[in-house]
Symmetry: C2
Subunit: 231 residues, 2 copies
């Protein structure tokens, strides 16, 4: 096939100092099914992007892993398993904290107090709408006991209070896991990245967080080649 002369870009000092990067890939070409087994095997960590995403390779291509939701999935499974086994872990506060509930929070509290305790909260309803927090679930920062309780009660809105117990338990576990998980914009050592991936692969759903967000994205080798116009 003949190549037109216009395609050649020769050295020249008067070219503008701006280059246009061509498009990468169409979304349609990227969506892939992967088996958990194929994920498990040969994931190699390359490094971290923006202190937020783990960049890795596997035999199928390039992987991007959101470090927060990866950890969230790990903790969600852990909280659910501990709760199911009735062996939740608590951290006692040095000094119990009191928390004044809003009327909406008070209603939510009454609906889920049992679930909260089954996850490791130790709570005591005092006079009026005041609650004493004596312990929080494992992995959470005890110094944020009030914020954590408020956040969990927020997620249990009026509509949900009639929901099945199992659903409430999932929502609470997801809220706790989100709170306890490492955030984005946090540098991770290679060991920590390796640990996250290894643990993630043992969870019930390594590709989706408890709220339904993607944890792993893959650029397939073939799609990268196409984007580089490779046959």
């Amino acid at each position: 096939p003949s190549t037109s002369a216009a395609q050649f870009v020769a050295p020249s000092s008067d070219r503008p100092a701006v280059n246009v990067l061509p498009p990468l890939v169409s979304a349609a070409g990227i969506a892939r099914e992967v088996t958990v087994e194929s994920l498990t095997k040969k994931i190699r960590v390359l490094g971290q992007l923006e202190d937020s995403f783990i960049i890795a390779t596997d035999p199928e291509g390039l992987l991007l892993i959101d470090q927060h939701v990866a950890h969230e999935r790990i903790l969600f499974d852990k909280y659910r398993a501990l709760e199911a086994a009735r062996t939740s872990e608590s951290q006692n506060l040095l000094v119990p904290e009191t928390f004044d509930l809003t009327p909406a929070q008070a209603a939510a509290f009454d609906a889920v107090a049992g679930e909260l305790e089954s996850y490791g909260f130790a709570l005591m309803r005092l006079s009026g709408r005041t609650v004493a927090i004596k312990a929080v679930p494992a992995d959470l920062p005890p110094s944020e006991a009030r914020n954590i309780l408020a956040e969990v009660l927020e997620t249990i809105d009026a509509e949900k209070r009639g929901a099945a117990r199992a659903t409430l338990r999932d929502e609470i576990a997801a809220s706790l896991a989100c709170r306890a998980a490492i955030k984005i914009n946090m540098p991770l050592t290679e060991e920590k990245m390796r640990w996250l991936i290894d643990r993630l692969l043992t969870t019930s759903s390594p590709t989706t967080c408890p709220h339904g967000r993607p944890i792993i994205l893959r650029l397939k080798k073939r799609d990268i080649e196409k984007a580089f116009h490779r046959p």
Copy 2:
């Protein structure tokens, strides 16, 4: 905002062992203009994918660099600059090789013999359609002298022989650069990757190879966040 119960994925032993990875990005969201200056500064090498593509980060996001076309661009600029300065570098063959031209190759040869010599070939037309190759341009494997000459003559097809000298020179330089450049499916040390990027950034066109193919693709930070459903 309320979260529907269906979004929760709880641990369960009867879930199928297949997960669907969601789409990454739309092509439209990825095409970006970058200044050469922005490229020059803070590119950090993460590693190599499939022994073919350099994975790196810069302040704008994730970079994928095709190692073959990156090197091709570097060598193209070098060949053009040496030719323009009339200082091409040659490697003499220990024993000159003879090469029998096809009729088409013979016609191409007559049209571009001068250009070939200006790039460092030392050639002598013998009887009939036989040519003796005494030297090849720098960076090329002398053991492949015959193949290289055949390949260059292939790119100068009938249609092109009437083209401007400058165009012929670009085509020959592109063909030589393609031949001399490192291939894909070749492991590179981190030092070599670093060298390729640093040299690429000094070329006339760090984002496009002499044949018009992309050298660098970028996944913008914002597009990655969107693909992970991050606000």
